[in-house]
């Protein structure tokens, strides 16, 4: 049962998002340099951080799956990566909008963080066809875990290599956070980070609950010896 606690968690997420967004728009000052468009920073950067942390968490769940051989961890790993890939799409779109507004181009190649993120995103996007192509369920779970571990090791290495290859024009979030970012901006940013983190957790929990419920329904149908209507996704792991 994964549904327990989903309701309070959802309410906390909505409340935190509402509070953080009001902080972003009504409390944090306008950026002297970029003006209103800089507000996208409060969505873009937390999304990127949460997506990357989500990829790493997916890798840790995958290690747990390989060590214990418990299918539950494979489902956790799959859902973590799944939600992080969706967040990744949002990161690339908000990043492109921000790049267009502040540098005049939709895509800027000599900006290491965005390029690194694209490469990581492309790698994780292959998780689905990879998983889908393996038929045997046990083997699929094991191979997907091996993929998640390998890709988890790839993330920091890729960031290092891309950063070394390029000049630095990206806004240094944490350099400015230590140096010049005003306290109001920092507070709004940290609140957004917590809110997006909560959103990720809620979505992961929601997806796991949905998978567990549909798995249960399928088992009950099978117990009734009725043919399963509709069929199920062949990519997604079953959760007991």
């Amino acid at each position: 049962m994964y549904g327990k606690g989903l309701k309070p968690l959802s309410i906390a997420t909505v409340a935190m998002l509402a509070v953080s967004l009001s902080l972003v728009f009504f409390y944090a000052p306008l950026d002297a340099d970029q003006g209103f468009i800089q507000k996208i920073f409060y969505v873009h950067v937390p999304l990127a951080i949460v997506a990357l942390v989500g990829f790493i968490i997916g890798g840790i769940f995958a290690i747990a799956h390989l060590r214990t051989n418990n299918r539950k961890w494979d489902a956790y790993s799959y859902v973590s990566i799944h939600i992080s890939v969706i967040f990744g799409v949002a990161v690339l779109i908000t990043g492109a909008i921000w790049a267009k507004a502040s540098w005049g181009h939709w895509w800027v190649w000599d900006e290491p963080t965005l390029v690194s993120f694209l490469i990581v995103f492309l790698l994780y996007a292959t998780y689905y066809p990879f998983r889908y192509a393996i038929e045997d369920r046990d083997r699929q779970a094991r191979y997907a875990s091996v993929f998640a571990v390998t890709a988890g090791a790839f993330v920091p290495l890729n960031f290092m290599a891309v950063r070394m290859a390029q000049s630095l024009v990206h806004p240094r979030t944490f350099a400015t956070a230590e140096g010049g970012m005003p306290g109001e901006m920092m507070l709004a940013f940290l609140c957004m980070l917590v809110a997006i983190g909560l959103l990720w957790t809620t979505l992961v929990k929601f997806e796991l609950t949905a998978k567990s419920a549909s798995g249960q329904v399928k088992r009950l149908r099978r117990a009734l010896d009725a043919p399963v209507a509709g069929g199920s996704s062949r990519i997604a792991p079953e959760v007991s």
Partner: protein, 226 residues
């Protein structure tokens, strides 16, 4: 010899012997790379290359030629029951990983022995940068072999073998290609080789080899379970 080393030597010798007898991968890889050079000659409309363009053409060609060999790396194991034999044998399964990486490094070195001189004849003005290029080639081959073996061993057991290897491998080797082209670019620069950031890039290549060698060694056991 310890059992692991004997098994390693036996698997490697088996792979090399069967490649020598069937010539399934290597001639295709070499032919593919030469044809790709010709396509680049007309695609770029350049008769001589230097610097970043030369490094890009060389590495893109070598990478795509390597994918051909990586695709076929475990086909015999799957079709002739080699995986079952390894599972039955009283040896550490990681030995298979090590032997396959070694075999792939040898294939890649053989490919480069043909492709790089032809590349130099086709496009380069001088051969001065080719000596230090050997170090870059060897380190990059090691990393490419480690990730390639890992992906190939998984893809061969799937429905979409030929599709999965390039799909998953290409994003995974992007850091390797960044470092390899970064080290190669000054070596092939117009007006003689230079060594701008050469050591740094070699260290990145070494780090990549180390990380994916260890990851492959650690997870390979799980790929053979059944």
């Amino acid at each position: 010899m310890t059992p692991s080393r004997a098994a390693f030597a036996a698997i490697l010798a088996k792979d090399l012997r069967s490649e020598l007898r069937t010539l399934q991968s290597l001639p295709a890889m070499a032919l593919f790379s030469v044809t790709t050079f010709v396509i680049f000659r007309f695609g770029l409309d350049r008769t001589s290359l230097s610097g970043s363009l030369a490094a890009g053409v060389l590495w893109a060609t070598l990478l795509f030629a390597a994918v051909l060999g990586i695709n076929r790396l475990f086909v015999a194991e799957r079709e002739e029951g080699g995986f079952d034999a390894i599972r039955l044998a009283p040896i550490d399964r990681s030995v298979l990983f090590g032997a396959k990486v070694a075999a792939l490094v040898i294939y890649l070195a053989a490919l480069e022995l043909v492709a790089v001189p032809i590349f130099a004849v086709f496009f380069l003005d001088g051969a001065g940068g080719l000596g230090p290029l050997i170090a870059v080639l060897l380190l990059a081959d090691l990393g490419l072999a480690a990730t390639g073996t890992l992906i190939s061993s998984m893809a061969v057991n799937s429905r979409a073998r030929d599709l999965l290897v390039p799909l998953v491998l290409l994003p995974l080797v992007v850091p390797l290609m960044i470092a390899a082209t970064g080290a190669t670019e000054p070596l092939l620069a117009l007006g003689g080789p230079s060594y701008h950031r050469f050591g740094t890039w070699l260290m990145v290549l070494g780090l990549y080899d180390l990380i994916f060698g260890l990851v492959g060694y650690a997870v390979f056991d799980f790929l053979l379970e059944d």
